[in-house]
Amino acid sequence: MPRPTPVYIVASPNQKVGKTLIARLLIEFVQTDGRKVIGYDLQSRRSALAERFPHLVESVDISDTRGQMRVFDRLLIDRGITKIVDLGSGPFDLFFAVMEKIDFVTEARRQLIEPIVLFVTDTEAETARIYAGLRGRLKSTIFVPVHNEAVSVTFAAQDFLAGGIECGPIRIARLSQLVCRVIDRSNFSFANYITEPGGESEVHQWIGPILTRFRELELQLFANRLALFLNAGNANNGPNFEID
């Protein structure tokens, strides 16, 4: 049974919560795993992810239909390629409105593609409300909360339950300011830290648990799909028309 190809949507309704950092980590994680990956940088302002990975990441404005087609249509092709969307706070509402309207998740699953929203949390009550609202509107979509300790020390687990998958939040520990400046350099790559784990450096200590969670998440996706497959008895892409 083929593994589903993930489409990671790194999202938060707020700015400066570490979305682009998480997207970077995912890109390098997938790359060092020997898999193909492409990204979409949907920011209203500076396209930091596209600047860092100019050959892999495209900056797109989804405020018009053409931009929406550029992203959503292409998320559904090339099933073997993992896609990562760095969703800026500006287009946050529009992205999920389009995703819901066109029933993106249903079509993606028919193509053996699994959208996963990595929602970066914070302590604002409004953020929790938005998360609950999104989960309510996109009931069948997988939601995984991300707790970035650089944004908030505390994490209200009851407000940010995972959806569609059994897992806890992905925790991003706080890094020292010095190391933050190092990893922010344009020529910095996490690749060595990924391929040579277990080192003593602060980055090694920081990245190890994150990578473990990424691997667990992808294993859990496969397990979910396997369970569905076994329950259904047969993989089925579905007919063109369905009668009630």
């Binding site: 239909t65 066109i102 009630d244």
Partner: protein
Amino acid sequence: MPKPTVVLVGADKGGVGKTTVARTLLDYLTAENLPARAFDTEFPKGRLKRFHPAITEVVDVTAVPDQMRIFDTVSHENVTVIDVRAGLLTPTLRALRDVGFLESMKKGEFSLVVFHILGASVASLDEIEDTSAFTGDASHFLVKNFINNTTFFEWDQATQSSYFRKVKDAGQIAIPKLNEMAFEQVELAGVPFLSFVANKDPKGESANYSFVLRGYVRHWLGNVWNEYERIKLKDILANGPVAKAKGSGRMQVVSS
């Protein structure tokens, strides 16, 4: 024995989206397994026929021979949908009155449904009273087709009262706006909305339409059909044609 049913889709002004509404209606009938035939009065080239060629004839509704082709062959076996050319709705209704069709309708021999497509102008609203003078026992619906950001004067109570509330027996249908690019893509494809959603070309083979645009059309068509469900259109039409034996219930709007 169910009554033969005729659905007139028209307006006395052009550019209000009559043919678009007629197309959604034909798709709805397809999904509900209700056999239909259509007459496209945009003689000689036709507009509706391009999208539903198998069931549509182009006719000149002002010519008696073509009037005979339409109304002499109305039967309970299918719903007859007539996409009335701009400017001809009231004259068509007048002609139906003159040939006795409206009288036959009053006697219960036929069902008539009138979809009067409104434009966002006072001139368009002026037509309501003209049309309603003929609709009598017909099922008369005022269709607000939101092809742009018009509000149909909903913000002005006086205008609302003077037009919409005068015609008490007319129902209202709101056709939401469809994404412009999606609409244009369907125009280029030249297929029914339902086929576009199913990613089929005019030959019925797999096409390569944008999933985003197909999604917009599916969402929009679903909303239009919700309006048809709300006015119980299926029940109105059920007094006419007999539903096919195969299949039960409505097809869902599903992408391929």
